[in-house]
Symmetry: C2
């Protein structure tokens, strides 16, 4: 039976991973971009990112751009693999019944 990853399956985290997985490796996604794209509060998004980072599915990098703090979020190789497996499991469930 196709296994669903409970960490990724949660709606907000599924969206976060989908956005990160769709981004080409040259582009970087900012915290602010995710916040706007997903209509989440700082605290809510931060908690979800923390959970995904703990699982090793993404990395969070805090830096300064023109003296302003900027946070970048990037999917890891593990994250990409786990997301692909989850997407495949969902596909099997939705199509196979």
């Amino acid at each position: 039976m196709a296994q669903l990853n409970e960490i990724i399956h949660q709606p907000a985290r599924l969206r976060i991973m989908a956005i990160l997985a769709a981004v080409s490796t040259e582009r970087q996604v900012t915290f602010t971009y995710l916040k706007c794209a997903l209509s989440l509060t700082d605290g809510n998004l931060g908690a979800h990112l923390h959970k995904l980072e703990e699982a090793g599915y993404l990395t969070i990098t805090k830096t300064f751009v023109r003296q302003k703090p900027q946070t970048y979020v990037e999917i890891t190789e593990t994250g990409r693999q786990v997301f692909d497996e989850h997407r495949q499991a969902l596909k099997e469930i939705l199509e196979g019944g």
Copy 2:
């Protein structure tokens, strides 16, 4: 933004709805079949079915077949529609990022 239905999104309930939606209208799904297909306990499956029934997504019919109690579960029109919408929303999220 594609909306995910929180009642249906829960892994066990997503599988239940996928099975019910895939079944032709002439065939009936029993409680026992779902229990085996999903590897759930009676109590756990019962709780998920109750939640989906409360939402109006399925009907539960208890009857007797050759003097043995039998429970049938069937998706409603609303359930089918809501599941289709959810499947579409998932597809958009997974493909669009």
